[in-house]
């Protein structure tokens, strides 16, 4: 087909899988179409053994092919070698191997058809899995069976030539094994028909920092090798043979994005200070000690939420005080002098085998959990408090209590803390006697009692995930109401304002550590409402910091005031969207995509 007959400026929409914009020629892996499989009845019984042998040989050849491709994986991508190992295991798996051999024998059918049936059964089995990530692993089975099929039918697997020019790879499906067989330095982008946000190719593309769009239906049919493509991995858009105008728009967008990315990475280490010199703090939420590298990499001002549940779930016995102490001490020591905010146990009794009598709670979100559990099972709580206090000798440790719903709970917890301090003194153990004690504000009752709680706390930390769930009576896991879970609900914003104003009147700082704190869309409002510290997943830090550094406290306050005047979510949302698009266009365009990917 002559270039003038090519489709022009055709827009296709897929799923954004790896951020970035690229303009390059397409290279279509056309022969990746599925091998055609036909049913064949084996004429006689004695052909069964022959057919089984043919199948076994195909398995061996597939195995050799996979082993070769594993060896060919370049050093830099070694971490992806496990995918090949997975495929090698699937190849030998009894659900495929034994089942196919059995079907050949029992139904006297050819290997291809038998394998196809075995794969179908496996697909059915996987279709029932609730966990979407694990469910999508059915793709690995399909990849492997496709590979076996090619060896069975003698269809030549496509050889990935070493591309001379930069290309965007277009394929029906790409397994990570495939990607290891191409010269990645020339590959500028990936487009696949199959796959979703959690497919191997999406994860792989993110870690290779190559833009990708997946789930693009008919990509192989619509695109030919040699077409010029615009690939926008931020919005999931692909444009075939763009005209000059479109091309220049995307070149501009690409430049903007790359500048933005470079800029936020540069400024991630600078202090979170507004243009009018108002200092705020951006901290990290962590669950595991090994996240500390990232915390330091992203320039966090400390840890605003250290979730401590993991050590309790890891074993079937409770962790000892020493185990807890060692863990907290390491984190405190590495972060020193930056603060580490340790949240005491926030799980329900149902997670403990030894408390199985609590297992059948009707409504665990409203049940025996967090501080309620800790105050009931005092031995568990005591050993955690002892460990935290002892760790406080090694860094700037703060402690906070989750799910507080009244003053009594704080008093009881503080009382225990004081008793333990006395114990430790007697034992001659060192600790920070002034360790700051925080109350988490995540139950509406705590919002209403903020003035009283402020008398008993050194700081507040608003846990928005629970607060929104309880205040709006929305279970996010329930798909019928999940959409009504709205951080911009006027009631939520008023609660935040009330908590901040009350805390400041009592002269204590307020942190926020729910997901709301890490969404760049909400940063100006939270700044304007006067939240002193925002704690978030590390990937949010550069973007949120960028906003803080580009904003003034004055405009943020004025904006927050405007938002508070509005009575409906729709009105708030449109004002916020408008403000962000106008005031922080790059963050608005790119910020959320960056926050949500592994950058």
């Amino acid at each position: 087909m002559a270039p003038e007959a090519w489709p022009q400026n055709k827009v296709l929409k897929g799923i954004a899988a790896s951020p970035g914009i690229i303009i390059a020629p397409a290279h279509v892996l056309a022969d990746r179409n599925r091998v055609q499989v036909f049913y064949r009845y084996l004429g006689s019984r004695h052909q069964v053994a022959e057919e089984q042998e043919r199948f076994r040989e195909a398995i061996i050849r597939t195995q050799q092919e996979l082993s070769r491709s594993k060896e060919a994986i370049p050093e830099d991508f070694r971490e992806h070698a496990y995918i090949v190992d997975t495929h090698l295991l699937i190849l030998q798996d009894r659900l495929l191997l034994d089942e196919t051999l059995r079907l050949i024998q029992e139904e006297t059918i050819n290997a291809e058809w038998a394998l196809k049936q075995a794969v179908k059964e496996a697909q059915k089995l996987f279709g029932q899995i609730a966990d979407s990530y694990i469910r999508s692993r059915v793709q690995d089975i399909e990849d492997v069976s496709e590979r076996i099929m090619r060896h069975l039918t003698g269809t030549n697997p496509s050889s990935f030539t070493n591309f001379k020019e930069p290309v965007i790879i277009v394929a029906q499906n790409l397994s990570p094994v495939d990607t290891t067989q191409m010269s990645l330095e020339r590959v500028q982008g990936f487009i696949t028909e199959m796959g979703g946000k959690t497919s191997h190719i999406a994860i792989m593309a993110q870690s290779l920092r190559i833009p990708a769009v997946v789930g693009l239906e008919n990509a192989v049919r619509e695109i030919d090798t040699g077409y010029t493509l615009v690939l926008d991995g931020l919005s999931g858009t692909v444009i075939i043979n763009p005209d000059v105008e479109t091309m220049s728009i995307y070149l501009g967008r690409k430049k903007q994005f790359e500048n933005f990315k470079a800029e936020i990475n540069r400024s991630s280490f600078l202090p979170a200070v507004t243009l009018d010199d108002y200092p705020t703090r951006i901290l990290a939420n962590i669950e595991f000690q090994d996240e500390l590298d990232l915390v330091l990499d992203y320039g966090a001002d400390g840890i605003g939420l250290y979730r401590t549940e993991f050590l309790y779930l890891r074993q079937h016995y409770l962790p000892t005080e020493e185990e807890l102490f060692e863990d907290y001490k390491t984190v405190a020591h590495i972060m020193k002098p930056k603060p580490v905010t340790i949240r005491t146990l926030d799980i329900g009794g149902d997670k403990f085998a030894s408390y199985s009598q609590y297992v059948h709670e009707m409504n665990p979100a409203l049940g025996l959990r967090a501080i309620r559990f800790s105050l009931k099972e005092q031995q568990v709580f005591r050993s955690q408090l002892r460990a935290i206090l002892r760790a406080s000798a090694f860094g700037a440790v703060r402690i906070m209590f989750p799910l507080i719903s009244g003053v009594q709970e704080v008093l009881a917890a503080r009382q225990m803390l004081e008793e333990i301090k006395a114990e430790l003194r007697q034992e001659g153990l060192t600790f920070d006697s002034q360790i700051p004690v925080g109350v988490m504000i995540e139950v509406p009752a705590a919002v209403m009692l903020a003035d009283l709680l402020a008398q008993e706390a050194d700081f507040f930390s608003i846990g928005t995930n629970d607060l929104i769930q309880y205040a709006l009576a929305i279970d996010r896991g329930n798909k019928y109401v999940a959409e009504m879970y709205q951080p911009l609900h006027p009631a939520v914003l008023r609660m935040v304002k009330h908590v901040v104003d009350t805390a400041h009147a009592a002269d204590i700082p307020v942190a926020m550590c729910g997901e709301m704190a890490g969404d760049p869309l909400y940063t100006p409002i939270l700044l304007g409402l006067g939240v002193d510290e925002l704690s978030m997943n590390v990937t949010s830090i550069p973007v949120v910091k960028r906003i803080v550094r580009m904003a003034t406290l004055e405009e943020a306050k004025e904006f927050a005031n405007q938002v508070l005047q509005l009575g409906s979510i729709d009105a708030v949302t449109s004002l916020v969207t408008n403000f962000m698009a106008r005031r922080f266009p790059e963050v608005f365009m790119f910020g959320r995509e960056l926050v949500n990917s592994n950058y």
């Binding site: 495929l96 899995i129 609730a130 692993r137 690995d140 079937h316 085998a353």
Partner: protein, 102 residues
């Protein structure tokens, strides 16, 4: 740790069992399941994982995946056959180390 050892009538074919918690970030996904299957294949003993009445042969990566164990799932393990105790211990260690994930 709740491990119980049972001996059958002959007194040799000991069955070992334990409850293990899936406590890595992604649950028993491809990489973790691959580790379990590889480990199981190194042992002669039969290793059965059980969740909500569903069973999986630990030597089969696909059966492990098909249990759909997200993070925080409790899995019942039964090991039977030669050197069952060692196999169970190795498996417990693998779970404890979060399948070697960072």
């Amino acid at each position: 740790m709740t491990i119980s050892n049972m001996t059958d009538i002959d007194g040799n074919n000991a069955a070992h069992q334990a409850k293990l918690l899936v406590c890595n970030r992604l649950g028993l996904h491809a990489r973790a399941a691959a580790r379990i299957a590889s480990l199981a294949q190194e042992h002669q003993a039969k290793i059965i994982l059980e969740k909500n009445g569903l069973q999986a042969d630990a030597k089969s990566i696909l059966e492990i995946l098909s249990l759909g164990c997200g993070p925080g799932t409790m899995v019942q393990v039964r090991v039977q056959g030669p050197e069952a105790g060692e196999a169970l211990q190795a498996l417990q260690e693998l779970f404890r180390l979060r399948f070697g994930e960072s």
